[in-house]
Protein backbone atom coordinates (compact mmCIF):
# COMPACT_ATOMS: atom_id res chain seq x y z
CA UNK A 1 0.00 0.00 0.00
CA UNK A 2 2.76 2.40 0.98
CA UNK A 3 4.50 1.47 -2.25
CA UNK A 4 1.46 2.52 -4.25
CA UNK A 5 1.10 5.79 -2.38
CA UNK A 6 4.75 6.63 -2.87
CA UNK A 7 4.63 5.87 -6.59
CA UNK A 8 1.48 7.96 -6.90
CA UNK A 9 2.92 11.10 -5.32
CA UNK A 10 6.19 10.62 -7.09
CA UNK A 11 4.58 10.46 -10.52
CA UNK A 12 2.14 13.30 -9.91
CA UNK A 13 4.53 15.81 -8.36
CA UNK A 14 8.19 14.86 -8.19
CA UNK A 15 8.64 13.49 -11.69
CA UNK A 16 5.72 15.31 -13.26
CA UNK A 17 5.59 14.47 -16.97
CA UNK A 18 5.43 18.11 -18.05
CA UNK A 19 7.60 19.90 -15.53
CA UNK A 20 10.31 17.36 -14.74
CA UNK A 21 10.75 15.44 -17.98
CA UNK A 22 9.13 17.92 -20.43
CA UNK A 23 7.11 15.25 -22.15
CA UNK A 24 3.87 15.98 -23.95
CA UNK A 25 4.79 19.61 -24.43
CA UNK A 26 3.34 20.07 -27.92
CA UNK A 27 -0.26 19.38 -27.07
CA UNK A 28 0.25 20.98 -23.67
CA UNK A 29 1.13 24.28 -25.31
CA UNK A 30 -1.29 24.10 -28.20
CA UNK A 31 -4.49 22.99 -26.45
CA UNK A 32 -4.26 25.06 -23.29
CA UNK A 33 -6.05 28.21 -24.46
CA UNK A 34 -9.30 27.31 -22.70
CA UNK A 35 -9.86 25.41 -19.47
CA UNK A 36 -12.73 23.37 -20.91
CA UNK A 37 -10.71 21.94 -23.82
CA UNK A 38 -7.73 21.42 -21.55
CA UNK A 39 -9.87 19.32 -19.22
CA UNK A 40 -11.07 17.23 -22.17
CA UNK A 41 -7.59 16.53 -23.47
CA UNK A 42 -6.26 15.94 -19.95
CA UNK A 43 -8.96 13.37 -19.29
CA UNK A 44 -8.18 11.65 -22.59
CA UNK A 45 -4.49 11.48 -21.65
CA UNK A 46 -5.28 10.03 -18.21
CA UNK A 47 -7.48 7.41 -19.82
CA UNK A 48 -5.01 6.44 -22.54
CA UNK A 49 -2.07 6.29 -20.12
CA UNK A 50 -4.00 4.26 -17.56
CA UNK A 51 -4.92 1.72 -20.23
CA UNK A 52 -1.74 1.53 -22.31
CA UNK A 53 0.83 1.32 -19.51
CA UNK A 54 -0.59 -1.90 -17.99
CA UNK A 55 -1.21 -3.31 -21.49
CA UNK A 56 2.37 -2.64 -22.49
CA UNK A 57 3.51 -4.02 -19.14
CA UNK A 58 1.91 -7.33 -20.10
CA UNK A 59 3.53 -7.19 -23.55
CA UNK A 60 6.89 -6.45 -21.98
CA UNK A 61 6.62 -9.23 -19.39
CA UNK A 62 5.37 -12.01 -21.62
CA UNK A 63 6.73 -11.14 -25.05
CA UNK A 64 9.50 -8.60 -25.24
CA UNK A 65 12.06 -8.77 -22.50
CA UNK A 66 15.04 -11.08 -22.59
CA UNK A 67 13.79 -14.55 -21.72
CA UNK A 68 10.16 -13.44 -21.57
CA UNK A 69 9.06 -16.20 -23.91
CA UNK A 70 10.04 -18.87 -21.38
CA UNK A 71 6.35 -19.60 -20.73
CA UNK A 72 6.15 -21.10 -24.24
CA UNK A 73 8.67 -23.73 -23.30
CA UNK A 74 12.36 -23.88 -22.40
CA UNK A 75 13.52 -23.73 -26.04
CA UNK A 76 12.11 -20.21 -26.32
CA UNK A 77 13.81 -18.92 -23.19
CA UNK A 78 16.74 -17.41 -25.06
CA UNK A 79 14.81 -15.07 -27.32
CA UNK A 80 15.23 -11.37 -26.75
CA UNK A 81 12.67 -9.33 -28.67
CA UNK A 82 13.26 -6.05 -26.89
CA UNK A 83 14.24 -4.35 -30.17
CA UNK A 84 10.56 -4.63 -31.08
CA UNK A 85 9.36 -2.76 -28.02
CA UNK A 86 9.14 0.66 -29.70
CA UNK A 87 6.94 -0.67 -32.49
CA UNK A 88 4.70 -2.78 -30.29
CA UNK A 89 4.24 -0.08 -27.68
CA UNK A 90 3.37 2.42 -30.37
CA UNK A 91 0.94 0.02 -32.01
CA UNK A 92 -0.91 -0.49 -28.71
CA UNK A 93 -1.02 3.23 -28.14
CA UNK A 94 -2.18 4.11 -31.64
CA UNK A 95 -4.93 1.50 -31.44
CA UNK A 96 -6.11 2.83 -28.10
CA UNK A 97 -6.05 6.40 -29.37
CA UNK A 98 -8.07 5.49 -32.41
CA UNK A 99 -10.59 3.84 -30.08
CA UNK A 100 -10.81 6.96 -27.92
CA UNK A 101 -11.26 9.03 -31.07
CA UNK A 102 -14.21 6.93 -32.19
CA UNK A 103 -15.82 7.01 -28.74
CA UNK A 104 -15.40 10.76 -28.30
CA UNK A 105 -16.74 11.45 -31.78
CA UNK A 106 -19.83 9.41 -31.01
CA UNK A 107 -20.66 10.76 -27.56
CA UNK A 108 -19.33 14.30 -27.50
CA UNK A 109 -19.06 15.87 -30.96
CA UNK A 110 -18.38 19.30 -29.48
CA UNK A 111 -15.35 18.02 -27.60
CA UNK A 112 -14.30 16.20 -30.76
CA UNK A 113 -14.45 19.43 -32.75
CA UNK A 114 -12.48 21.46 -30.24
CA UNK A 115 -9.77 18.84 -29.80
CA UNK A 116 -9.36 18.91 -33.57
CA UNK A 117 -6.16 17.41 -34.89
CA UNK A 118 -4.84 16.84 -31.39
CA UNK A 119 -6.75 13.65 -30.77
CA UNK A 120 -4.72 11.75 -33.35
CA UNK A 121 -1.69 13.56 -32.04
CA UNK A 122 -2.19 11.99 -28.61
CA UNK A 123 -0.68 8.97 -30.31
CA UNK A 124 2.59 10.82 -30.66
CA UNK A 125 2.15 12.71 -27.44
CA UNK A 126 5.52 11.79 -26.08
CA UNK A 127 4.02 11.61 -22.58
CA UNK A 128 2.13 8.48 -23.60
CA UNK A 129 5.01 6.58 -25.16
CA UNK A 130 7.26 8.01 -22.46
CA UNK A 131 4.97 6.45 -19.85
CA UNK A 132 5.39 3.00 -21.38
CA UNK A 133 9.14 3.35 -21.87
CA UNK A 134 9.66 4.57 -18.30
CA UNK A 135 7.57 1.65 -17.10
CA UNK A 136 9.95 -0.67 -18.99
CA UNK A 137 13.20 0.95 -17.96
CA UNK A 138 12.25 1.38 -14.31
CA UNK A 139 11.20 -2.24 -13.95
CA UNK A 140 7.79 -1.62 -12.48
CA UNK A 141 7.19 -4.82 -10.57
CA UNK A 142 3.48 -5.67 -10.79
CA UNK A 143 0.59 -4.89 -13.10
CA UNK A 144 -1.12 -3.05 -10.24
CA UNK A 145 1.83 -0.73 -9.93
CA UNK A 146 1.90 -0.30 -13.70
CA UNK A 147 -1.73 0.79 -13.68
CA UNK A 148 -1.01 3.11 -10.78
CA UNK A 149 1.95 4.55 -12.66
CA UNK A 150 -0.06 5.21 -15.82
CA UNK A 151 -2.94 6.73 -13.92
CA UNK A 152 -0.84 8.98 -11.73
CA UNK A 153 1.38 10.18 -14.58
CA UNK A 154 -1.81 11.04 -16.44
CA UNK A 155 -3.11 12.93 -13.44
CA UNK A 156 0.16 14.83 -13.23
CA UNK A 157 -0.15 15.81 -16.87
CA UNK A 158 -3.81 16.75 -16.34
CA UNK A 159 -2.86 18.97 -13.40
CA UNK A 160 -0.21 20.72 -15.45
CA UNK A 161 -2.43 21.48 -18.43
CA UNK A 162 -5.28 22.56 -16.16
CA UNK A 163 -3.01 24.98 -14.33
CA UNK A 164 -1.56 26.53 -17.48
CA UNK A 165 -5.01 26.83 -19.09
CA UNK A 166 -6.33 28.67 -16.05
CA UNK A 167 -3.34 30.99 -16.08
CA UNK A 168 -3.75 31.65 -19.81
CA UNK A 169 -7.42 32.52 -19.37
CA UNK A 170 -6.51 35.04 -16.68
CA UNK A 171 -3.51 36.43 -18.50
CA UNK A 172 -5.69 37.60 -21.37
CA UNK A 173 -6.73 40.51 -19.15
CA UNK A 174 -3.15 41.50 -18.40
CA UNK A 175 -1.06 43.91 -20.37
CA UNK A 176 1.46 41.54 -21.90
CA UNK A 177 3.82 43.07 -24.52
CA UNK A 178 2.20 42.41 -27.91
CA UNK A 179 4.88 40.11 -29.40
CA UNK A 180 4.83 37.93 -26.30
CA UNK A 181 1.08 37.42 -26.30
CA UNK A 182 -0.13 33.88 -26.71
CA UNK A 183 2.65 31.39 -27.21
CA UNK A 184 5.57 33.49 -25.97
CA UNK A 185 4.24 34.22 -22.53
CA UNK A 186 3.02 30.62 -22.20
CA UNK A 187 6.56 29.38 -22.69
CA UNK A 188 7.89 31.73 -20.05
CA UNK A 189 5.12 30.96 -17.55
CA UNK A 190 5.70 27.24 -18.05
CA UNK A 191 9.40 27.78 -17.39
CA UNK A 192 8.60 29.52 -14.12
CA UNK A 193 6.15 26.80 -13.13
CA UNK A 194 8.79 24.17 -13.88
CA UNK A 195 11.22 25.94 -11.58
CA UNK A 196 8.51 25.84 -8.93
CA UNK A 197 7.94 22.14 -9.48
CA UNK A 198 11.69 21.56 -9.15
CA UNK A 199 11.26 22.16 -5.45
CA UNK A 200 9.30 18.91 -5.20
CA UNK A 201 12.57 17.23 -6.18
CA UNK A 202 13.64 17.03 -2.55
CA UNK A 203 10.59 14.94 -1.64
CA UNK A 204 10.57 11.15 -1.78
CA UNK A 205 13.93 10.93 -3.47
CA UNK A 206 13.94 7.31 -2.20
CA UNK A 207 14.45 4.44 -4.59
CA UNK A 208 17.16 3.31 -2.20
CA UNK A 209 15.86 -0.12 -1.29
CA UNK A 210 18.53 -0.86 1.23
CA UNK A 211 17.82 2.30 3.18
CA UNK A 212 14.23 1.21 3.50
CA UNK A 213 15.27 -2.17 4.86
CA UNK A 214 17.53 -0.47 7.35
CA UNK A 215 14.67 1.76 8.40
CA UNK A 216 12.48 -1.25 8.97
CA UNK A 217 15.20 -2.94 10.94
CA UNK A 218 15.75 0.07 13.15
CA UNK A 219 12.00 0.24 13.66
CA UNK A 220 12.12 -3.38 14.74
CA UNK A 221 14.94 -2.79 17.19
CA UNK A 222 12.93 0.06 18.59
CA UNK A 223 10.01 -2.28 19.05
CA UNK A 224 12.30 -4.66 20.83
CA UNK A 225 13.47 -1.83 23.04
CA UNK A 226 9.85 -0.98 23.84
CA UNK A 227 9.24 -4.59 24.81
CA UNK A 228 12.28 -4.60 27.03
CA UNK A 229 11.10 -1.37 28.63
CA UNK A 230 7.70 -2.86 29.31
CA UNK A 231 9.28 -5.92 30.86
CA UNK A 232 11.44 -3.72 32.98
CA UNK A 233 8.45 -1.68 34.08
CA UNK A 234 6.60 -4.86 34.95
CA UNK A 235 9.54 -6.04 36.97
CA UNK A 236 9.73 -2.70 38.64
CA UNK A 237 6.06 -2.89 39.48
CA UNK A 238 6.44 -6.33 40.94
CA UNK A 239 9.57 -5.16 42.69
CA UNK A 240 7.64 -2.29 44.18
CA UNK A 241 4.93 -4.69 45.15
CA UNK A 242 7.43 -6.84 46.92
CA UNK A 243 8.80 -3.83 48.71
CA UNK A 244 5.35 -2.76 49.76
CA UNK A 245 4.65 -6.16 51.10
Amino acid sequence: MLEHLELFFKSVFVSNMVFATFLGMCSYLAVSKKVSTAVGLGAAVIFVLAVTVPLNWLLDQYLLRDGALAWLGPEYADYDLSFLSFILFIATIATMVQLVEIVVEKFSPSLYNSLGIFLPLIAVNCAILGGSLFMQSRDIATIGLAFNYGLSSGIGWFLAILAIAAIREKIRYSNVPAPLRGLGITFIVTGLMAIGFNSFGGMLTGGDEGAKEELQQSAKTEEVKEDVKKELEKNEVSFNNVQNN
Partner: protein
Protein backbone atom coordinates in the same frame (compact mmCIF):
# COMPACT_ATOMS: atom_id res chain seq x y z
CA UNK B 1 -5.91 4.36 -58.58
CA UNK B 2 -9.08 2.39 -58.22
CA UNK B 3 -8.51 0.87 -54.81
CA UNK B 4 -11.21 1.64 -52.29
CA UNK B 5 -9.09 2.43 -49.26
CA UNK B 6 -12.10 2.86 -46.97
CA UNK B 7 -13.23 -0.76 -47.04
CA UNK B 8 -12.75 -2.73 -43.83
CA UNK B 9 -11.42 -5.77 -45.62
CA UNK B 10 -8.79 -3.61 -47.32
CA UNK B 11 -7.79 -2.08 -44.00
CA UNK B 12 -7.31 -5.47 -42.42
CA UNK B 13 -5.30 -6.80 -45.36
CA UNK B 14 -3.16 -3.69 -45.44
CA UNK B 15 -2.45 -3.97 -41.71
CA UNK B 16 -1.59 -7.65 -42.03
CA UNK B 17 0.78 -7.07 -44.95
CA UNK B 18 2.40 -4.16 -43.14
CA UNK B 19 2.97 -6.20 -39.99
CA UNK B 20 4.53 -9.04 -41.99
CA UNK B 21 6.77 -6.77 -44.07
CA UNK B 22 7.95 -4.63 -41.17
CA UNK B 23 8.25 -7.58 -38.80
CA UNK B 24 10.37 -9.65 -41.13
CA UNK B 25 12.48 -6.66 -42.13
CA UNK B 26 13.26 -5.85 -38.50
CA UNK B 27 13.82 -9.48 -37.56
CA UNK B 28 16.17 -9.89 -40.51
CA UNK B 29 18.17 -6.77 -39.64
CA UNK B 30 18.30 -7.71 -35.96
CA UNK B 31 19.46 -11.28 -36.50
CA UNK B 32 21.92 -10.37 -39.26
CA UNK B 33 23.60 -7.74 -37.13
CA UNK B 34 23.41 -9.56 -33.81
CA UNK B 35 26.92 -11.10 -33.86
CA UNK B 36 28.56 -7.77 -34.72
CA UNK B 37 26.58 -5.95 -32.04
CA UNK B 38 27.39 -8.59 -29.41
CA UNK B 39 31.08 -8.34 -30.25
CA UNK B 40 31.01 -4.56 -29.87
CA UNK B 41 29.26 -4.87 -26.53
CA UNK B 42 31.79 -7.42 -25.32
CA UNK B 43 34.70 -5.12 -26.14
CA UNK B 44 32.93 -2.27 -24.44
CA UNK B 45 32.50 -4.23 -21.22
CA UNK B 46 36.17 -5.20 -21.22
CA UNK B 47 37.16 -1.59 -21.83
CA UNK B 48 34.94 -0.36 -19.01
CA UNK B 49 36.21 -2.90 -16.49
CA UNK B 50 39.81 -2.08 -17.35
CA UNK B 51 39.08 1.63 -17.14
CA UNK B 52 37.73 1.26 -13.61
CA UNK B 53 40.98 -0.38 -12.45
CA UNK B 54 43.05 2.34 -14.05
CA UNK B 55 44.09 0.59 -17.26
CA UNK B 56 43.36 3.22 -19.88
CA UNK B 57 45.06 5.57 -22.30
CA UNK B 58 44.15 8.90 -20.72
CA UNK B 59 46.66 11.42 -21.96
CA UNK B 60 45.43 14.79 -20.67
CA UNK B 61 43.41 15.74 -17.63
CA UNK B 62 40.01 16.06 -19.21
CA UNK B 63 39.34 13.17 -21.55
CA UNK B 64 38.33 9.54 -21.17
CA UNK B 65 40.30 7.20 -23.43
CA UNK B 66 39.88 3.45 -23.34
CA UNK B 67 42.28 0.78 -24.44
CA UNK B 68 41.55 0.57 -28.20
CA UNK B 69 39.24 -2.26 -29.27
CA UNK B 70 41.94 -4.18 -31.13
CA UNK B 71 44.13 -4.43 -28.04
CA UNK B 72 41.49 -4.74 -25.36
CA UNK B 73 41.16 -8.52 -25.36
CA UNK B 74 44.87 -8.95 -24.79
CA UNK B 75 44.91 -6.35 -22.02
CA UNK B 76 41.89 -7.90 -20.39
CA UNK B 77 43.53 -11.32 -20.31
CA UNK B 78 46.70 -9.79 -18.91
CA UNK B 79 45.21 -7.67 -16.12
CA UNK B 80 42.12 -9.57 -14.98
CA UNK B 81 43.41 -12.47 -12.92
CA UNK B 82 40.21 -13.99 -11.59
CA UNK B 83 36.53 -13.70 -12.31
CA UNK B 84 34.35 -14.61 -9.37
CA UNK B 85 30.71 -15.50 -9.44
CA UNK B 86 28.98 -15.32 -6.09
CA UNK B 87 25.70 -17.17 -5.93
CA UNK B 88 23.85 -17.95 -2.73
CA UNK B 89 26.95 -17.41 -0.62
CA UNK B 90 29.12 -19.71 -2.79
CA UNK B 91 32.07 -18.24 -4.63
CA UNK B 92 33.19 -19.91 -7.86
CA UNK B 93 36.30 -18.65 -9.59
CA UNK B 94 36.50 -20.65 -12.82
CA UNK B 95 34.01 -18.79 -15.04
CA UNK B 96 36.01 -16.91 -17.65
CA UNK B 97 32.96 -15.16 -19.04
CA UNK B 98 31.57 -13.81 -15.80
CA UNK B 99 31.94 -10.30 -17.17
CA UNK B 100 29.19 -11.08 -19.68
CA UNK B 101 26.63 -11.77 -16.93
CA UNK B 102 23.57 -9.60 -17.52
CA UNK B 103 22.99 -7.73 -14.25
CA UNK B 104 19.42 -6.91 -15.21
CA UNK B 105 18.53 -10.59 -15.39
CA UNK B 106 20.13 -11.17 -11.99
CA UNK B 107 18.06 -8.33 -10.58
CA UNK B 108 14.88 -9.97 -11.85
CA UNK B 109 16.05 -13.29 -10.43
CA UNK B 110 16.61 -11.71 -7.03
CA UNK B 111 13.14 -10.18 -7.18
CA UNK B 112 11.59 -13.56 -7.94
CA UNK B 113 13.38 -15.14 -4.99
CA UNK B 114 16.04 -17.04 -6.96
CA UNK B 115 19.63 -16.47 -5.80
CA UNK B 116 21.25 -13.92 -8.16
CA UNK B 117 24.72 -14.33 -9.63
CA UNK B 118 27.00 -11.56 -8.43
CA UNK B 119 30.15 -11.14 -10.52
CA UNK B 120 33.35 -9.73 -9.05
CA UNK B 121 36.65 -9.33 -10.85
CA UNK B 122 40.13 -9.45 -9.42
CA UNK B 123 42.59 -7.38 -11.39
CA UNK B 124 46.29 -6.80 -11.05
CA UNK B 125 48.37 -3.85 -12.18
CA UNK B 126 51.95 -3.02 -11.19
CA UNK B 127 51.82 -5.57 -8.38
CA UNK B 128 48.69 -4.13 -6.83
CA UNK B 129 45.42 -5.99 -6.56
CA UNK B 130 42.09 -4.45 -7.48
CA UNK B 131 38.60 -5.78 -6.75
CA UNK B 132 36.15 -4.60 -9.37
CA UNK B 133 32.42 -4.60 -8.75
CA UNK B 134 29.83 -4.04 -11.51
CA UNK B 135 26.79 -1.88 -10.75
CA UNK B 136 23.39 -1.23 -12.29
CA UNK B 137 20.76 1.36 -11.37
CA UNK B 138 18.30 3.93 -12.64
CA UNK B 139 18.86 7.53 -13.66
CA UNK B 140 16.27 10.07 -14.74
CA UNK B 141 15.35 8.60 -18.11
CA UNK B 142 16.69 5.08 -18.23
CA UNK B 143 19.27 2.70 -16.88
CA UNK B 144 22.68 3.79 -15.58
CA UNK B 145 25.51 1.39 -14.86
CA UNK B 146 29.15 1.30 -13.99
CA UNK B 147 32.17 -0.44 -12.48
CA UNK B 148 34.00 0.43 -9.29
CA UNK B 149 37.40 -0.87 -8.25
CA UNK B 150 38.53 -0.97 -4.62
CA UNK B 151 41.72 -2.12 -2.98
CA UNK B 152 41.95 -4.38 0.02
CA UNK B 153 41.34 -1.44 2.39
CA UNK B 154 38.06 -0.73 0.59
CA UNK B 155 39.30 2.56 -0.80
CA UNK B 156 38.03 3.35 -4.29
CA UNK B 157 40.80 3.16 -6.90
CA UNK B 158 38.71 4.12 -9.90
CA UNK B 159 35.20 4.13 -11.28
CA UNK B 160 33.52 4.12 -14.61
CA UNK B 161 29.91 5.20 -15.11
CA UNK B 162 27.79 5.09 -18.21
CA UNK B 163 24.16 5.69 -19.04
CA UNK B 164 21.66 4.87 -21.72
CA UNK B 165 19.83 8.13 -22.17
CA UNK B 166 20.54 10.79 -19.56
CA UNK B 167 20.14 14.44 -20.53
CA UNK B 168 23.16 15.69 -22.52
CA UNK B 169 25.03 18.32 -20.56
CA UNK B 170 23.28 17.44 -17.29
CA UNK B 171 22.80 13.83 -16.19
CA UNK B 172 25.03 12.61 -19.01
CA UNK B 173 27.96 14.28 -17.24
CA UNK B 174 28.27 11.26 -14.93
CA UNK B 175 30.63 9.85 -17.55
CA UNK B 176 32.79 12.97 -17.53
CA UNK B 177 36.27 12.59 -16.20
CA UNK B 178 35.98 15.27 -13.48
CA UNK B 179 33.01 13.51 -11.92
CA UNK B 180 34.43 10.00 -12.06
CA UNK B 181 37.84 11.08 -10.76
CA UNK B 182 36.19 12.56 -7.66
CA UNK B 183 35.43 9.06 -6.43
CA UNK B 184 39.07 8.01 -6.35
CA UNK B 185 40.34 7.87 -2.79
CA UNK B 186 36.92 7.79 -1.12
CA UNK B 187 36.32 4.84 1.18
CA UNK B 188 33.17 2.79 0.80
CA UNK B 189 33.23 2.05 4.54
CA UNK B 190 31.92 4.41 7.17
CA UNK B 191 31.97 3.80 10.94
CA UNK B 192 32.96 0.15 10.46
CA UNK B 193 30.08 -0.66 8.16
CA UNK B 194 29.72 -0.75 4.40
CA UNK B 195 28.09 2.52 3.42
CA UNK B 196 28.94 3.55 -0.13
CA UNK B 197 29.36 7.10 -1.40
CA UNK B 198 26.89 9.98 -1.37
CA UNK B 199 26.48 12.40 -4.24
CA UNK B 200 26.05 15.55 -2.21
CA UNK B 201 24.95 19.06 -3.10
CA UNK B 202 25.76 20.50 0.31
CA UNK B 203 29.11 19.11 1.33
CA UNK B 204 30.97 22.45 1.05
CA UNK B 205 33.83 20.57 -0.51
CA UNK B 206 33.52 21.15 -4.26
CA UNK B 207 37.15 20.36 -4.98
CA UNK B 208 36.78 17.12 -3.02
CA UNK B 209 39.81 17.46 -0.75
CA UNK B 210 38.07 15.66 2.08
CA UNK B 211 38.45 11.98 1.28
CA UNK B 212 36.98 10.51 4.45
CA UNK B 213 33.50 11.99 4.23
CA UNK B 214 32.00 9.36 1.88
CA UNK B 215 30.80 12.24 -0.30
CA UNK B 216 31.52 13.54 -3.77
CA UNK B 217 30.27 16.81 -5.18
CA UNK B 218 27.03 16.60 -7.17
CA UNK B 219 26.54 17.67 -10.78
CA UNK B 220 24.62 20.86 -11.50
CA UNK B 221 21.13 20.23 -12.84
CA UNK B 222 21.26 16.48 -12.42
CA UNK B 223 19.62 15.84 -9.05
CA UNK B 224 17.69 12.74 -10.02
CA UNK B 225 20.58 11.16 -11.92
CA UNK B 226 22.91 11.91 -9.01
CA UNK B 227 20.53 10.44 -6.44
CA UNK B 228 20.03 7.38 -8.63
CA UNK B 229 23.79 6.97 -8.93
CA UNK B 230 24.35 7.21 -5.17
CA UNK B 231 21.53 4.73 -4.58
CA UNK B 232 23.14 2.37 -7.10
CA UNK B 233 26.55 2.56 -5.42
CA UNK B 234 25.09 2.07 -1.94
CA UNK B 235 22.84 -0.83 -2.90
CA UNK B 236 25.71 -2.59 -4.65
CA UNK B 237 28.10 -2.07 -1.75
CA UNK B 238 25.50 -3.41 0.65
CA UNK B 239 24.88 -6.47 -1.50
CA UNK B 240 28.59 -7.27 -1.74
CA UNK B 241 29.38 -6.34 1.89
CA UNK B 242 29.86 -9.87 3.32
CA UNK B 243 32.27 -10.82 0.51
CA UNK B 244 34.13 -7.52 0.66
CA UNK B 245 34.54 -8.04 4.39
CA UNK B 246 36.04 -11.46 3.67
CA UNK B 247 38.53 -9.86 1.30
CA UNK B 248 39.38 -7.08 3.74
CA UNK B 249 40.09 -9.40 6.66
CA UNK B 250 41.79 -12.10 4.63
CA UNK B 251 45.40 -11.27 5.44
Amino acid sequence: MAINTEKNSYTVIFAAVMVIVVGSLLAFVASALKPAIKENQRFEKQQNILYAMGVHENSDAGSVNFIPTDKVEEAFAKHIKEQWVIQGGQITKDDTEAYLIDLKKQKTAAKEGRPPKLPLFVGEKDGETFYIIPMLGNGLWDAIWGYMSVNQDMVIQGVFFDHKAETPGLGANIKQRYFMDDFIGESIRKDNSYYGVDVSKTNNDPTNNDKVDNQVDALAGATITGDGLAAMVKATVRRYAPYLEQIRTEN
